[in-house]
C-alpha cells in the first residue's frame, strides 16, 4: 500500500507580509487569512490631520466672529425691514427723499420682507471684513519662518553625521517640547538592538576579563582606580569586532586546547556554533562572513564561536557546516552535522534545542536556555562544577549581563527513533492540542542533560545617546514586553532572562 508523504504546517512555514524568501528554489503556495478582516488591514487607517493649539484656538475665534457677523446682519435686516415698511403709509411717503413710491425690490415698502432678506446678504458682504481671513495666511508665514529657524538651530545639529534639524511640516512648530516622559519596552529600544559576547563559564571556570558598564559605574562610585586601569589597558589591545568584546588569553587563539577541560570547551564551542537558526552571508569580495539572526544574542554566540575557532559558514535545509579547530592536529577541519530536528525557543519553554547527527553517525541533543529551566533538567548524577556555574551566573547577573545555560546529551538510535515517530505525528496533527503534543514529545528528550557552562552577553551602549539631563525628559524602561501586556514579536526570540539596567 502506497502512503502519501505528509508535511507539517507550522508558523515557521508562514511568510508574513513583506517577508523575503531566500535560499529556496521552489515552494508550494497556500494563501491563508487575507482580506479586510485581518488585523493589519483594520489597523491601516488614514493619518489624522494634525492641527496645533494655535490653529484650534484660531478656529474657535473665527467661529465666534462669524456668529457675531450673522447676528449683526440678522438684527440689522430686521430693523431695515421695519423702517422700510414704515416709509410708505396709506400711499403717502414719509422719508420722501428716498422716493419709496418709485423703488426697486431692494427698498420696496410694499414687499418689506423680501427687502429685509436681500439686505441680510448685502450686510453679510459689507461686514465681511469682520472675519480676519488673512489671519491664517499670516500665521502660516510665521510658522514657515519658524521652521527656517528650527532648521538653522546649532543645538539640534549632529556634527558626526552632518545632520541638521529638519522641520518637515510647519504645522506643529509650537508643539515642540511637549514630551515629558518616554515609556519604552527595554528589548532593543534603549540598547540599540545589539549585544556583545563578553564572558562565559565553562566546566566551572570563568573566562573573560572584560569590564561591564555596570561594573565600571560601581567602581567609579566607590573610587576604585584598579578596575578602571585594567579596563583602559585591555580595551586598546585589539580591533573591535561587532558583537564580540571577549578577552581572555587562556582560550583565545587556540589556547583552549591546553586547558584542563579542553573536551568540555570543545563541546561548548561546538554547541555555540551549531545550536542556532542563523544564516551566514559570505561577502564575495573580502570573504568575510556575517550572520543574519532572529535575535542579536544568537548572532553574538556564533561570532564568539567563530573567533574561538569554530567557524559556521554554511547552512542547508538538512545540515550545518563548520570549520573546526582540531585539538589533536591543531588545524582547521571541515565538519558537517546533519540537522534532524529543531525545537524552537518560545517564552513558555525558555529554551532551544537542536538534534544533530555528526559524520560518525552519533546523535547529539544540544540545548541552551534560561538557568531556571535548564538546571532542573540536568542529569541527577553529581557534576563537579554545577554549583560553581550557578555562582558564576549570579555574578554575571549582578554585573548587568544576560545569561544562558548550555548543556548537551548523546542519544542512542532506539531513543531517537521513538522520539522521531512521536514528534512527527504530533507535528502532522491538526487537532486543538497540537502544541501540547509537540511539547510533550520534546519534553521526553530534553532531560538528563550534561552541563557545559554558561554565557554572558552585554547590551550595547545606546543609553549614552540620550541627553536626558538637558531635556528634562524622564525615561521609564520596563523589563520586558510582558510587563506592557503586549504579545512578544512573532519573528524574534524574546529571552525572558531579565536583569536590571
Amino acid at each position: 500500500i502506497e502512503i502519501e508523504e505528509q508535511y507539517p504546517l507550522s508558523p515557521q512555514q508562514i511568510l508574513l507580509r513583506d517577508s523575503k524568501l531566500r535560499n529556496t528554489e521552489y515552494v508550494y503556495g497556500v494563501v491563508i487569512f487575507t482580506g479586510h478582516d485581518t488585523k493589519v488591514m483594520q489597523n491601516a487607517m488614514k493619518a489624522p490631520s494634525k492641527r496645533s493649539k494655535i490653529e484650534r484656538k484660531m478656529d474657535r475665534i473665527i467661529y465666534l466672529l462669524l456668529s457675531a457677523l450673522v447676528l449683526i446682519s440678522v438684527i440689522g435686516s430686521v430693523f431695515f425691514g421695519i423702517t422700510t415698511r414704515d416709509d410708505l403709509q396709506d400711499g403717502r411717503p414719509k422719508r420722501w427723499y428716498l422716493r419709496p413710491d418709485d423703488s426697486t425690490i431692494y427698498f420696496k415698502p410694499t414687499k418689506a420682507a423680501i427687502s429685509a432678506i436681500l439686505h441680510f446678504f448685502t450686510a453679510m458682504m459689507l461686514y465681511g471684513n469682520f472675519i480676519p481671513i488673512s489671519l491664517y495666511i499670516s500665521i502660516e508665514i510665521v510658522k514657515l519662518l519658524q521652521a527656517l529657524f528650527i532648521n538653522q538651530d546649532i543645538h539640534m545639529y549632529h556634527e558626526e553625521t552632518d545632520t541638521p534639524a529638519h522641520a518637515r511640516t510647519s504645522n506643529l512648530n509650537e508643539e515642540l517640547g511637549q514630551v515629558d516622559t518616554i515609556l519604552t519596552d527595554k528589548t532593543g529600544t534603549l540598547t540599540c538592538n545589539s549585544m556583545e559576547f563578553i564572558k562565559c563559564s565553562i566546566a566551572g571556570t570563568a573566562y573573560g576579563r572584560g569590564i561591564t558598564e555596570v561594573e565600571r559605574a560601581m567602581a567609579k562610585r566607590k573610587g576604585s582606580p584598579l578596575i578602571a586601569d585594567m579596563a583602559s589597558n585591555t580595551q586598546g589591545s585589539q580591533a573591535a569586532i561587532k558583537g564580540f568584546n571577549f578577552t581572555d588569553e587562556r582560550v583565545m587563539n587556540g589556547n583552549w586546547v591546553s586547558q584542563p577541560h579542553s573536551g568540555v570547551i570543545q563541546m561548548f564551542l561546538r554547541l555555540l556554533a551549531v545550536c542556532h537558526t542563523c544564516i551566514p552571508e559570505v561577502d564575495e569580495e573580502s570573504g568575510t562572513i556575517s550572520y543574519e539572526a532572529e535575535s542579536p544574542d544568537e548572532a553574538a554566540f556564533v561570532v564568539a564561536a567563530r573567533e574561538l575557532g569554530f567557524t559556521f559558514y554554511q547552512r542547508t535545509q538538512t545540515g550545518v557546516f563548520l570549520h573546526e579547530l582540531d585539538p589533536s592536529s591543531g588545524k582547521q577541519v571541515d565538519r558537517s552535522y546533519k540537522l534532524l530536528h529543531v525545537l524552537e525557543f518560545n517564552s513558555a519553554r525558555k529554551r532551544m534545542s537542536v538534534i544533530v547527527r555528526n559524520e560518525e553517525g552519533k546523535i547529539f541533543l544540544f540545548s541552551k536556555g534560561a538557568d531556571s529551566v535548564m538546571f532542573e533538567r540536568l542529569s541527577s548524577s553529581d557534576c563537579a562544577y554545577r554549583e560553581v556555574t550557578q555562582d558564576h551566573i549570579n555574578e554575571y547577573a549582578d554585573a548587568g549581563l544576560r545569561t544562558l545555560v548550555l548543556a548537551y546529551r548523546q542519544l542512542d538510535e532506539a531513543e531517537y527513533a521513538n522520539f522521531d515517530r512521536k514528534f512527527t505525528a504530533a507535528k502532522n496533527s491538526v487537532s486543538a492540542d497540537r502544541d501540547e503534543m509537540i511539547e510533550e514529545a520534546a519534553d521526553l528528550l530534553e532531560r538528563k542533560l550534561i552541563l557545559l557552562g554558561a554565557t554572558a552577553v552585554e547590551f550595547g551602549h545606546a543609553l549614552r545617546q540620550f541627553s536626558v539631563r538637558s531635556t528634562g525628559v524622564g525615561v521609564s524602561a520596563r523589563r520586558d514586553a510582558r510587563d506592557l501586556h503586549l504579545p512578544p514579536p512573532s519573528q524574534s526570540h524574546s529571552h525572558s532572562q531579565t536583569t536590571s539596567t
Partner: protein, 344 residues
C-alpha cells in the same frame, strides 16, 4: 537638495530647502540683543504720573478753548408752520412760508460767525440715498449722460438726462435765511463754504444744470442754470453726505462782529419738508476757536484719562509703601539652575 516626501504632505505645508550645515550667526540662532523693559515700581509710578501731568493740562486747555466759543441754536420748524396740516402747508406752492425769528445775543461774538442749518432724523447715510449719484457726471460735461446709478432721479419726463442727477441733488436743502442786527441788514457771505478740493476737482467748471427739478415731483431747491456746478456751493455742501442722521451743514458766514445784548432778526423761508418723517430743523450761529466749534468731548476725555492715571499712580505708591515686593532673580528660573530638580 531635499528629495523626501512627507507622510502627511496632504495635510501639511511642504518645506524644501538646501539642507546645509546651520550657519552660526546671531540672527539664525535667534540670539540678537533685544530691549527687555523691567517694570519696577518706580518706573511704573513715574510713567502713570507722567501721563497725568501731560494729559490734564491738555484737557483743561481744550475745555477753556471750547468754552470761549459762543453758540446759538434756534429750532424753528415747529413754530414757523401755523396750519394744522404741516405737510400740506409745506407742499403748497401758494402759501407764504416766510417766518421771522428773533435771537438775543448773550455774549460778544467775534467775526467771522459761521451760520449752519441743522437737520435731525434725516438719513443721508441710507444705502439707496448715498448711492444715488454719478460722480463722473458731476466732474465733466462729456459724461453728462452717465446716469446709470442715479435711479429714480436719472431722466426727466421728456427722457433727457438730468444734470445733476440722483436723489442727493434732487433733495437739496432750500430754506433761506436773511439776517438783521439792530434793524440793520447784515450780509451773509456764501463764498468758500465748500471744500476747495470739491470745488476744483469733484465738480466740473464746464457742467451746467440741465432738466433739474423739471419732473412732476420737486424735492428740493432749484439751481441757477447759468452757473457751473463748481460755483453752486450750496449744492456742493449738500452733496457731501453726512454719516449720522443728525448733522449740520454750513450755510454761510457773517463777517462782522456782533455785540452783547444785540438783537438778531432772521427772516426764514421755510420751504424744506421735514414734517413727513418727523425731523427737525434748526439755525445755528457759532464762533470758532483754534479747537474748532463748541466741543467739550476732547477736553473731558483728556482730563478723565489724566485723572485715572494719577489715581493709579497713587494706588501703586500706597501698595508699594504698605506691601513692598523684592525684585525677581532670573537665576531662580529652572533652566538657569546649576542642579535642576528633575535630574536624579
Amino acid at each position: 537638495m531635499c528629495l523626501e516626501i512627507d507622510e502627511s504632505f496632504s495635510s501639511g505645508f511642504f518645506l524644501c530647502f538646501f539642507f546645509l550645515s546651520p550657519a552660526d550667526s546671531k540672527f539664525t540662532q535667534q540670539e540678537l540683543p533685544a530691549w527687555k523693559p523691567l517694570y519696577t515700581p518706580g518706573i511704573v509710578i513715574g510713567a502713570f504720573s507722567l501721563i497725568g501731568i501731560i494729559f490734564i493740562p491738555i484737557g483743561l486747555v481744550s475745555i477753556a478753548a471750547s468754552q470761549e466759543v459762543v453758540e446759538l441754536v434756534d429750532k424753528y420748524d415747529g413754530e414757523c408752520v401755523t396750519a394744522n396740516d404741516k405737510v400740506g402747508f409745506i407742499q403748497d406752492t401758494k402759501t407764504d412760508k416766510a417766518c421771522t425769528r428773533t435771537i438775543t445775543v448773550p455774549k460778544p461774538m467775534k467775526g467771522p460767525i459761521q451760520v449752519y442749518y441743522q437737520l435731525e432724523n434725516f438719513y443721508q447715510n441710507h444705502r439707496r440715498y448715498v448711492k444715488s449719484r454719478s460722480d463722473k457726471q458731476l466732474r465733466s460735461k462729456e459724461f453728462s449722460s452717465v446716469i446709470k446709478t442715479c435711479d429714480p432721479e436719472a431722466i426727466s419726463e421728456g427722457g433727457a438726462p438730468i444734470v445733476p442727477c440722483g436723489l442727493i441733488a434732487w433733495s437739496l436743502f432750500n430754506d433761506t435765511f436773511t439776517f438783521s442786527v439792530n434793524k440793520k441788514t447784515v450780509q451773509v457771505n456764501k463764498k468758500n463754504i465748500a471744500w476747495s478740493s470739491d470745488r476744483t476737482i469733484k465738480f466740473g467748471s464746464d457742467v451746467f444744470p440741465e432738466n433739474f427739478q423739471k419732473g412732476g415731483l420737486i424735492g428740493g431747491g432749484q439751481l441757477n442754470e447759468k452757473l457751473p456746478l463748481s460755483e453752486q456751493e450750496d449744492l456742493i455742501v449738500w452733496m457731501r453726505t453726512a454719516a449720522l442722521p443728525t448733522f449740520r451743514k454750513l450755510y454761510g458766514r457773517i463777517e462782522t462782529d456782533i455785540m452783547a445784548s444785540d438783537e438778531i432778526t432772521v427772516v426764514i423761508q421755510n420751504n424744506y419738508n421735514t414734517y413727513s418723517f418727523g425731523g427737525t430743523k434748526a439755525l445755528v450761529l457759532s464762533t470758532t476757536s483754534w479747537i474748532g466749534g463748541k466741543n467739550n468731548f476732547i477736553g473731558f476725555a483728556y482730563v478723565a484719562i489724566g485723572t485715572i492715571s494719577f489715581l493709579i499712580a497713587l494706588a501703586f505708591v500706597g501698595l508699594n509703601m504698605v506691601k513692598p515686593r523684592t525684585l525677581g532673580d532670573p537665576s531662580y528660573l529652572s533652566w538657569n539652575k546649576e542642579n535642576p530638580d528633575y535630574v536624579q
